[in-house]
């Protein structure tokens, strides 16, 4: 049996609701009808999650056909994008903004440009230009300190 997207979404939302219920049960301030306390807002969200999760799951059971969210190549691209951002954050931590940013921008613009006619020199100019504009706007104009890494 093929599991529909709504069934997966419904299950995730339902489980999130149960998780929230478990978490709020540990709070020291009790929920009373005269004063609901800190459990009220997350409790309301949890009730909503459980009801909606179950509803979305049941609706998903009725669905026979649905549009494909992403093809296999799309999932790979999504995962690599997330990994690349994680690496960029780590690179900023250790190498700093000035090394990490142009390298990341060059990699991303080259990868995103697949199928388009672009020249490496354009991408180099773009990467250096954006890095410079961010530096000028954030650090020079508004005084924010950008990550310096271990060389800072």
């Amino acid at each position: 049996m093929k599991v529909s997207r709504d069934q997966i979404t419904g299950t995730v939302i339902l489980l999130l609701g149960l998780f929230v219920f478990v978490m709020i049960s540990t709070y020291s301030v009790p929920f009373r009808s005269t004063y609901p306390g800190p459990k009220a807002l997350p409790g309301l969200a949890a009730v909503g999650f459980v009801i909606c999760g179950a509803g979305i799951f049941l609706e998903g059971c009725k669905k026979k056909e649905e549009k494909v969210f992403l093809v296999k190549e799309g999932w790979i691209k999504l995962t690599v994008n997330i990994g690349a951002i994680a690496l960029y954050i780590l690179a900023m931590q250790y190498l700093g903004f000035f090394i990490a940013t142009p390298v990341y921008l060059y990699f991303l613009s080259s990868w995103y440009a697949k199928g388009y006619a672009t020249k490496p020199v354009h991408r180099i100019v773009f990467s250096a230009g954006v890095t410079a504009v961010i530096f000028l706007a954030y650090q020079m104009a508004f005084g924010y300190q950008l990550p310096t890494g271990i060389f800072g």
């Binding site: 979404t9 909606c52 609706e59 691209k77 999504l78 991303l108 672009t118 954030y138 990550p147």
Partner: protein, 511 residues
Amino acid sequence: MTENAAFIITQITNPLNLLLLLAGNVIGIVFGAIPGLNGTMAVMLFMPLTYGMETGPAIIFLLSLWIGGCSGGFIGSVLLGIPGSPSSVATCFDGHPMAKKGQAGRALAIGMTASFIGTFFSAVVGAILAQTVANIAFAIGPWEYFGLCFMAITMVLAISKGNMLKGLSSACLGLLLASVGYSPIDAQARFTFDNMYLMGGLGMTVVLIGIFGVSMMILAHAKGFDPLPTVDNSMIKGIGIKLSDIRENIVNISRSFLIGLGIGFLPGMGSGLSNLVAYSAAKNNSKHPETFGTGNPEGIWASESSNNASIGGAMIPMAALGIPGDSCTALLIGALTIHGLEMGPMVFKNSGDIVYLMFVVVAICAAVCFVLQAVGMRIFPQILKVPYHYMYPALIVVSLISAYVNSSSLYKCGMMLFFAVVGCIMAYGGLPQSPLILAFILGPTMESNMLKAFQNTETVATFFTRPISCVFNVIAICCVFSPVLKALYARFFRKENKQIAHEELKLNGNK
């Protein structure tokens, strides 16, 4: 307002502020014009840049981004047939057919004139009405505030057609994210996992840019970019609009303006809805409804004057009550809080100069956008040709740097990545975005007012015994249960209709 005139004049004549206003309008128009981006995203991305500014320049910059974004939406609708933002969906219906007929210049001119009329006059009406609404708001207590917030969140759900459960899930996610950190009044640590970065709650920039900005860009790449649009400059020949065009459409413009103003005023609704309602109203009242959708200028007048009128409409509850009219005003409320401005009835007493500055800036932005669009009409096709492989990497980096400068911590960048993954999961599940934004921004206000209300009366009954609070809460509950109510209504009337038909048949048979 007159006592604040000196402050307002000082602010708007400051060269740096004028430069910020111009830059904000240009950036906003670009964001509004490019399909997939919008004014709300421009405000989100550039908001951290304003944290280091004085309140006046920060407000000028943020508002000019917003107005530019709202005004620029029609460019993509006319030239590509793809709305630049949800507020310009109805503009596509007639704007693009006009462009195809070689009347792109006229369609763009109508769009920019209608945008100007909508924004400018709604700001004037807003400035006049906001103080009155604020005076009324003095009479309302935490029960009514809770009801207003509750209603604002649920009204968005009511318009998530066929998607009620998903809309509600999105709102619940917003409430859950809003509850991270120490709770109001009781100071109970919630979902902090002993992590010092979570103690103060989740930052608006990190959550919203992560969920809506970064996730949108990486998903766009994963799904494959659409081919770059091809728009011929020769499509734009002259302006082709006269004063008589405005005179002929004055009823349509006035009606659409009022629709936009009214929908903008309603908490949680905004230009995304008003343009469609105004378009339908224009079509229903037109002498030639059959020409709508084939390039009738009346459609553009209606859509663009209404979506821009929603700006002033949304600013009234934002300033007077602290309740956002749409997702962008929700962001602005958050940004103003960071600048120490608590929106609500007291703001007129404490910072009346800033509030009136906001309305004046909106009116000026309307004029600046009009001039920029008139001058740059031939540049519009170039805006739409910015390659995705340059635009998206730059925006991803700016998003991450926004998270970093917010706290000078790369941990926030990691959190933004986490929320980008949450955004992807939401897109996978088809959860809408607006309920999350409103619930996340309004959650803390809703909770603190609810707790204050209980501290005062210790019973839930008061929420329904106070008339205004009762109205808000009943509307909110009806919005939540609207699909059930609609189904019951349909079933009941279907049954009744069947019975009538059956009895008629019987009668006819007897005859």
